[in-house]
Symmetry: C2
Subunit: 299 residues, 2 copies
């Protein structure tokens, strides 16, 4: 079904750029229908000065501006107390001009807070302002299919949504397909598996405790690798018919590389490159979430 | 690893009876430490007169009494309005003597309400009183692992929990094992897959849209079949080493039968019979949820 002589490159840039254009039009047309309506606004909370976070945030602010989304960049020092960070979230919850917010992870704190506190911080974001869809209650909505149905009630974790948007653009439906997700994280692996399942795929999840999973990937039609291990997926582990989505991103001598070995990408029917694949979609899908949240909020 | 000459019967009755005894002791010891503390109380909302529901409820009330759990059986007529059913839930939410409630499904209404309303009814149960763990927010907690960690904050859908308790009793750990769940329902398949994944299993979910899944079940160490299709799982689809958990229940000429073909059960290393397997655990696990909710509620 996906057979080709040369692998198709699933170009995240094209898909992201098309999505950004659509979102820009959607915001403009909603506002044209109701000129008194305020522009959508995204707030980004940053704690500390992590250089990677800085780069991600500046990209988010830039794409938001392109679409017509106002932004508020809340910068807290790395010495901020847990209470101060909680108060920043609470203030944005109460601010009706803000339609969605994200807390940029990982937090760059001088005294690192436990993961359970970080999770409860995410859970303190109002469900209808949770632009990353990472609050527990919103993951529940993903789990029961509310965020993927016409009853859309919650944001979907942006990277997982990006995987689906990439597949959709290239008319690759997971329905009746054997799908394998490598990695079971809260941010990527687990939500991606749910989305593929709801889209009708047969879905296997493998992870670091899986002793032998080649028999799964060898039979797969679609493989999403989100393990965070450079060049993990070897060519002998997949067939030539596979569509490969690489969510990994690692610094390498020649620039960036992913969770799939370059020879794996060379062999398969289609793959998303690193860079230029899913990474491009993550920011665009965050904006898709924000625009959806904005549309549903009272003016 | 699970090789035996004759299949081991995973006896749900023994496991349920041991769990019920433990819960009885737990309630007694908590109350002995604090004699002023009220007994745990479970409320069961029944709409209409569905005979199967009646039988399930009377079994729940009986097991609750055995453990020392008070019960309140709220019976609404099949002509009750949606508003009247909602009010029954609201009243129990506000009643501090009630520690958990369930709405017996399916509702036997003379005018059938849409599924979306039933879901929002379940979601209106306070998270800390949701004894079935089926509210969206509680499924989110399951999804992020909060209900399975030492941070236990939510009930787990009782049948899925029953599957895990059955495996635990027989020292069958899903860790590093190939697990296949057949069925992706909100009540059973999907939560069971999450629990197996969190327990370290490699987990595949197959369902009615999966065209070919024998290659998965043939390689599996543990198969949970919750498809609602009588005798779906055929002997040639599994190996002799497999542990088979059958969640199906169907009326048959000779009594009851499950989702696995009798020849499949005869072939495998271990299986849970129908009746006498997981079904026995469901009620006991509902009580486990209720006792946990009670322990965590303010006196």
């Amino acid at each position: 079904m996906f057979e080709r002589i040369m692998p198709t490159v699933l170009d995240g840039k094209i898909v992201a750029s098309q999505l950004i254009t659509k979102l820009k039009e959607r915001v403009a047309s909603e506002r044209a229908m109701d000129p008194s309506r305020a522009a959508p606004q995204l707030a980004v909370i940053q704690v500390g000065d992590n250089p990677a976070s800085k780069a991600y945030i500046s990209r988010k602010l830039k794409v938001a501006a392109e679409i017509g989304i106002l932004t508020q960049h809340v910068q807290l020092s790395s010495t901020s107390s847990e209470r101060e960070i909680e108060e920043a979230v609470a203030r944005l919850n109460d601010d009706s001009s803000v339609h969605g917010m994200i807390v940029q992870l990982p937090l760059d704190q001088s005294v690192k807070s436990p993961e359970s506190w970080v999770n409860s911080l995410l859970d303190s974001i109002h469900a209808h302002k949770d632009a990353d869809g990472l609050a527990t209650a919103n993951l529940g909505k993903l789990f029961v299919g509310e965020s993927t149905s016409s009853r859309w009630t919650a944001a979907i974790p942006a990277t997982a949504l990006g995987v689906m948007r990439l597949l959709q653009y290239y008319n690759i439906s997971p329905r009746t397909k054997n799908c394998v997700v490598i990695g079971k994280s809260r941010l990527v692996g687990n939500p991606t598996a749910q989305l593929l399942l709801q889209a009708g795929g047969t879905v296997s999840v493998v992870h670091s405790q899986s002793p032998d999973w080649s028999f799964l990937t060898q039979r797969a039609d679609i493989v999403v690798v989100a393990a965070g291990v450079k060049h993990l997926l070897k060519p002998e582990q997949v067939s030539e018919k596979v569509v490969l989505i690489d969510v990994g991103i690692h610094k390498d001598v020649g620039g960036l590389s992913g969770d799939a070995h370059p020879e794996t990408c060379a062999k398969v029917a289609a793959y998303s490159p690193v860079p230029g694949g899913v990474g491009q979609l993550t920011v665009a899908c965050l904006m898709e979430n924000l625009v959806e949240l904005w549309k549903r909020q009272k003016k």
